[in-house]
Structure formats: C-alpha cells, structure tokens
Symmetry: C2
C-alpha cells in the first residue's frame, strides 16, 4: 500500500490529503501538523476578533474528526525536521520531544509561510507576553485572544495596512480599541492603485481608525507605561501592537533536502507541483506561483494553496493535474467597503514587458431608479496594442457584488479575452441587480473608448 505523507495542516496540506483520499482510497495518508489546529481558516481569524465568529473552533473548515473520517491520519503537535530523499523518510519530532522517522512513498510539503518583521528593531525580544503580536496561525490568534482578555488593552497600533492589517483594524475597532494603523507606503492597501486605496483609507477614518501613511517603523519599545512604536517621523504609544507586514515562504525543510529556490525565495515547483526531488511534491505559500500573465512569481494566497494542494494530492496518487496559473485575484472587506483586484496593475504590467493603459470609471451596481444603487469605482488595465485585458481593480460598498464582479474580470483574463470582448459577454440583468450593460461592461467600454481616443482612431473604418 502506498503511503502518502503531507507536511502541513493548513490549506495546501489538507487539500492534498483530501484529494488523494478521494481519488484513491487505497492510499494511506498521514498529515503531519506542527500545531493542534488542522484545517483552520486562517483568513477567518479577524472575524473571530470582531465578535462575528464564535467560538473560535467554528473557524475550522473541517474538524479533526471530519478529516479522520475520510481515512487520513493526523499527527498533531508534530514538527517535520528533515527529509531523507534517498531513503524516503521524514524525520519528525513530537511535542514530547520524541524523534521518529516516518517512511513515505510520496511526500507533499506544504509548510506555508512565516510572518516577517521587516527589520523592525526590538521585535526579537517582544512577544504576546509584552503585548506584541503577529497573527499568522491559530496559536498566534489564541495568544492574542488571551492577551485581550487578560490585559483589556484600550489602544492598539497595527503595523502594516495590507489585507490582514485592515481586517484587524476593523476587528479591534469593533472591540472598542482605539486603533492606529501605520503604513510604510503612501497609501493603505498598496495592492491597489492609490486612487482606490484612498477610498479605503476614508472608510477606515470614517470608523475612527487613525491612519498614518508614509510611516516607516524603526522599532517597537516595551516601556513601563506601555508599548511605543517609533517611526521615522513620530512615535505612537499603545497598549498592544500587532505587526502584519507580510510573509516569507517557509522553505527550510525543502531547502535542506536540496530543493531549488526561485521567485521570492520560494521553492520551485513545476505545474504538477513536483519539486524535482524524487517523490517530493510541494504546494501552498512555500512554493512559487505560476501566474498566467507574469510567469513564475511569488503570490501566496489561500485560494492558490487550495488549488496547488489539490493538484499535488491528485498527482501524488498517479494523476496528471496541472496548475493552470493564478491571475492574482484578491478581495477584502473593510467595514462597509469591498475592494478587489485581479490581474496586473500598470507598474506590474510594465515590469512584464507590456504597454498597459489604466482607465478609471464609475458605474452603478444596478439601475439607479431602483432603491439602494451605489457606485462602483473601477480601474481597468489593458494593452492598447492588442486590446488584451490585463487587470481590473474595483471598490464599492458591501452589497454591490464587487467580489463576483472581479471574478468576471478574472475569468475573462484567464480565458485571454480582450477588453472590448467584455461588452460581448452575455451577463445577467434585472434592474435590482444590474444594468443592461453591467457595470463591468461599462468599465470596459470606458477603457476602449479612452484607448481609441488615445490612439487617435475611432475603431471604425471609413464608410
């Protein structure tokens, strides 16, 4: 009987194990999980802190019992320490410190990513005990939860205004903390163009979050009076500090086994999720991301981890699945606003050798005569040389179906459609939910109209 071992209990590892069990119930599957929280929705943690999700156990996509009911074996609180590729054994250490070699036929490494500290002084010596937190795993979340209960902090500084920083700013605000959000860049949510990031900043400010941009954090200090976060321009005192400035791939296990590192320092895998080491597959936030427009890059996302894990699991039991590639689709809800993007922005497209043009436009989510219509702000990116759709950014109020509208763009990019072809799409219409030309198509028409004007042509031949 084949023994498949997966390392990692988050999206990629569990997806791989589930898929292998689904396709080949004869395969024995063991999942080695460093903590005791397999298959938790890490993306859901902020909603535990808003109070919308309770108890925290409901953040599990599936319980350990659910997982074991599929026939997989879970080894919780167990760390993988070394791969012997030639012997096909994985060395592990249990919580009790017991070392053991686990034999495998196929190994899937899904060790994910680790939070970075971005060179901020003082962090090495500070942790939950001092009120300084990261939030990358369930143990992190539970440590933060205990700290909030124990010390009842009244103020928080969040370092980093990316997705998690924004969501946690909302969560802390919902809990009654005064929140200061420090952002190194000129605008929050720097995965979007500044014009749209500014809308998100307004939403934060409207809910009482103090947003400080262009703030490079130098250090975090633990003082008798509390915590102090020092930037290049000011210092900010708070009872609690959350550092969410990004992640790096957790590659130690595979690197020591001889795997190659690529984009972003992540482990190189092919579209089948092969590492190149015999019998060793990898997936998730620790591996490079094939991007349909960029080629090999590093873009760790839960959606991608699920896909890659499923492919690795399928192929480890003899399948021939291939990762079709990311287009970088992301969405975040910030209070009552939803911001989304897919594909490339101008500077990303330029770096990829393209000649992008980005056009801003506004369109209502549904017919304005019907109650509750709200504008969606778009930025559509395309290449006027061939008309190809390269990317789209959308910001609108919650309820304007921004998340699924970005999915229409994502599907169109996946399929290689041109911007003008969006107007050909047969999209649904009823006045309470759309327009005869959907907002997506109006945004595309704004792009094609402007691109035609820029090119000095009208798109029609002389009569």
């Amino acid at each position: 009987m084949t023994h498949l071992v997966a390392v990692g209990g988050s999206d990629a590892g569990i997806s791989a194990a589930l898929r292998a069990r689904e396709l080949d119930p004869a395969t024995e599957v063991t999942v080695v999980v460093a903590d005791r929280y397999p298959n938790f929705s890490i993306c859901g943690i902020p909603y535990y802190f808003t109070g919308e999700v309770a108890p925290w156990q409901s953040l599990a996509h599936r319980t350990a019992a659910d997982l074991e009911a599929t026939g997989m074996r879970l080894r919780l609180d167990t760390r993988a320490t070394r791969i012997d590729v030639a012997a096909r054994t994985l060395a592990v250490r249990t919580a009790d410190g017991v070392e053991e070699d686990v034999a495998y036929d196929e190994l899937i490494v899904a060790t994910g990513a680790l939070p970075v500290r971005a060179g901020i002084a003082g962090l090495d010596a500070l942790g939950p005990e001092q009120g300084v937190h990261v939030i990358h795993s369930m143990p992190d979340a539970l440590a933060l939860d205990r700290d909030l209960e124990r010390r009842q902090p009244r103020s928080a500084v969040i370092v980093g205004a990316g997705y998690v920083g924004l969501e946690m700013a909302e969560a802390f605000t919902a809990r009654g903390l005064r929140v200061t959000l420090l952002q190194r860049r000129p605008e929050v949510l720097s995965t979007l163009d500044r014009e749209l990031g500014a809308l998100v900043r307004e939403e934060l400010a409207a809910h009482g979050v103090q947003v400080v941009t262009d703030a490079a954090v130098r250090s975090v200090e633990h003082r008798p009076s509390g915590l102090r976060v020092v930037t290049d321009r000011a210092s900010h005192d708070a009872d609690l500090v959350l550092v969410v400035v990004g992640v790096r791939p957790n590659v130690e296990l595979l690197e020591r086994a001889g795997a190659t590192l690529g984009a972003g320092g992540a482990v190189v895998v092919d579209a089948s999720m092969r590492t190149g080491l015999p019998g060793v597959w990898a997936a998730g936030d620790g591996v490079v991301t094939h991007h349909r427009l960029l080629g090999e890059t590093y873009l760790p996302l839960g959606t991608t981890a699920h896909k890659q894990g499923r492919i690795a699991g399928e192929n480890a039991v003899g399948g021939t699945a291939r990762f079709a590639g990311s287009v970088g689709t992301q969405v975040v809800k910030v209070f009552d606003l939803v911001a989304a993007r897919t594909g490339l922005r101008d500077h990303e497209a330029v770096a990829a050798g393209l000649a992008p043009v980005t056009i801003a436009s506004v369109a209502d989510d549904h017919k304005r005569y019907y109650p509750g219509a709200h504008p969606i702000r778009f930025r559509v990116t395309g290449d006027p040389r061939d008309g190809r759709l390269l990317g789209a950014q959308l910001v609108g109020r919650r309820g304007t179906e921004v998340a699924k509208r970005v999915d229409v763009f994502a599907t169109a990019i996946h399929a290689g459609l041109g911007v003008a072809q969006l107007s050909d799409l047969d999209l649904s219409y009823t006045p309470p939910l759309g327009s005869p030309w959907d907002a997506v198509q109006l945004a595309a028409q704004a792009w094609t109209g402007e691109a035609e004007r820029m090119e000095g042509r009208t798109g029609i031949e002389p009569a």
Copy 2:
C-alpha cells in the same frame, strides 16, 4: 451628410442612435418613436408597481432632452408605416394623422416585439377599460396605473408565470392585492428546471401568492360581478387580469419591405445586423438571436437588444462590429429569492445534438462560520464527452450574489471553457463574501465528480 434613421425608441433603437452619434458626430440621426416614451426601462416597470420606483418618469434610462443633447433628433408619437428600400425612404404617420416620407441613407429597424394572447378567448374585446391588461410598453403601464387608481381592485389574476408574471405577482402583492398566478406548465419559471422552479413557487406561496400550475387558460370573461378567467380545470374570479404569456417579434414593417423571416418568425440578420435589404439594418426583439451554442434562435432580451443596437449603429456609420452571440443569460428577483440561468438545459442541449448531463448541488455563498451565509442551489450542465460547460442554473436568497455568479458561468461558456476548468479559475475569496473554492467551483466539482463516476473512471492514470 449621412442621414441615419432608426425606427424604435426602446433599447435597440436608442443604443443604435447613441453609438452612431458617438462614433460619427457628422452623421445626422433621427429616431422614430411610436409613443412618447423613448428609452424607457421596460424591465423596470414592475418596480414602479411595487412602489419602489417613483415617479414613473425615473424609469427613463435617459430623458428626451438627454438624448437630444447627443445630437440625435427624436420624432415622438410617430409610426413608421412603410419602407421603400429602393428609394431609401421611410413612410411615417404622426399622431395627427399626417403622412410623410423620410429620406434616409441608412435605416435601422428596431420595432421590438408584441405581446401574444396565446389563443385565449375573449381578449380581443377586453382591455384596460375592462380591467384586462398587458404590460409591454409605457402606455400599457400607465393604463394599468390609471386602472389601479380608478377602480382600486382588490384581487388580480396573472396569466403566465415567466419573468414578468413573477415580478408583477410581487408588485401586486406589495400593493395589497390578492394574487392568483396561473401557469400552463407544471411549474413556474419554466426557463429553469422544475426542481429550481419549485423553490420560486415556494417563495411566491410564502408571500401569499396563490399559484396554480398545469392551468391552461381558455378564456377571459367580463361579467357584471367582475372578471373571470377560465382554465381547463377551474375558473378564477378577480377584479383585474394581467396577461403576460410571452411575445412575438414585431416584423410587419420589415416583412413587407421584403426581409426574410427566420427562427421564431423573427427577421433574419447576419452578425453585422444586416437584413440583406440594401441600407437596412435591424436589431432587438424583432430579429433572430445568434446563440453561441445553438446557432440561430429567437431569444428576445434587453441585454441582447442593447448589444445588437450598438452593433447596428456602429456598422451603419461604417463600422465592422459583429454580434458575438448570446448564451441565454437571465436573472429574476422574486421577493427575497434570485433565480438565474445561462447556457443550455438538458432538453435544449439534446435538441442541439449534444449529450448533456446535469448535476444538482448546493454550496454556501460564503464561509458558514461568518454570519449571514445562505445556500445557493445549482444545476450545472455539461457534456461528459468533451467536458464542455453547457449551462448553469442558480437559485439563492437575495444577497448571495447569484446574479454575478451566473455571470462567471456565462463568461466561461462564452470562452468555451470546460466544467473542470472552472476549478482552475482564480476567483476572489474573503470569508464574508466567498469560500476558498467559490460556490461556482464547488458546483463544477460536483459535476466533474459525478461525471467521472458515471464514466466509471477517476480521471487519473494508473501510477
């Protein structure tokens, strides 16, 4: 100077005129409108009767002044009576009975559709004066409005449980009328499979609408005590009767000019919207619909009329636009439920020579741990021989983004993707708005899993 004349003031005619003016401001554009309500949103009429839209004037996509500001000329209350193709003149008759010949260089006919009476006896002699209504135009809507005001009816029978019938059942209910909805077919909303139509019927019943299916209406009688609708099985009395049993293309003008009729009795046009008559284009509910999966058919929809009109307007001023084809996407809100479809259902695919399989599934609109998650019910249709996605039907509560999720399917069908490729799509995810595998992808995976089981293969090669 070129003179472009468009006949018809609804979606196709106005879209054509707008596009022509946009592309070539040197073209003189005249739009001949049979009534005095150009560019009204006919799809929005039910929401005037619910009371959500007021005044009725706000149903105009654009006012007459907006339209004239683009440089087009509107001839309201003017009926086109005859086309002289050789002379390039259009005979018109004004409200005053004045007959006139209008010279044109290019003519776009967008006369739309007319309501049918489905052989129901008595309708010829009954109209708004007797409380018997259709609702296909603004004059129809205003006549119904006056009747509701004047007679204050307390009960209504609606004949036909398609989109308009369902929306008007909601509208009359909102106004406090007792509503009986008569449907000839075994289930309401027969554009969806019965399993999903049944959910819509439950929603109607939950809001007090009496739904009678398998009811073939024979006649409508005007009696001293009120109106009586007689079916093959019973009779239903009411103060008001609304007949919404479908439409037929309004082709008289073009047919007499020598145009060819095709599917559904509609005027044949090519992808450029040419009728084949020199200088005569046509678009909208009066012409055949090119369907990407079915070829030539008749499927009158406002979204299609907008597209065809825009293409006719572009080409009439020298453009080379082509209609890329419908995939039959439709959506309706019925009280708190949204029902949508795109592509083909089983029987439609069989008629087109395909070998479809339809698989039902259910998936939450977003992660269940986050408040407000609701199930979406899917029926996905594909052809197991090549895995091609053929269609999808979705029903979910309002707020579950069903309308934009059907658009993801519509985009995928447009692009010719396979069902399995839906799992490759990089769709957006955040717990309040989706899942790592979006509901759309889970529905696709339900199809592929079942198709694999039906084929007795697992989709993987032996290791």
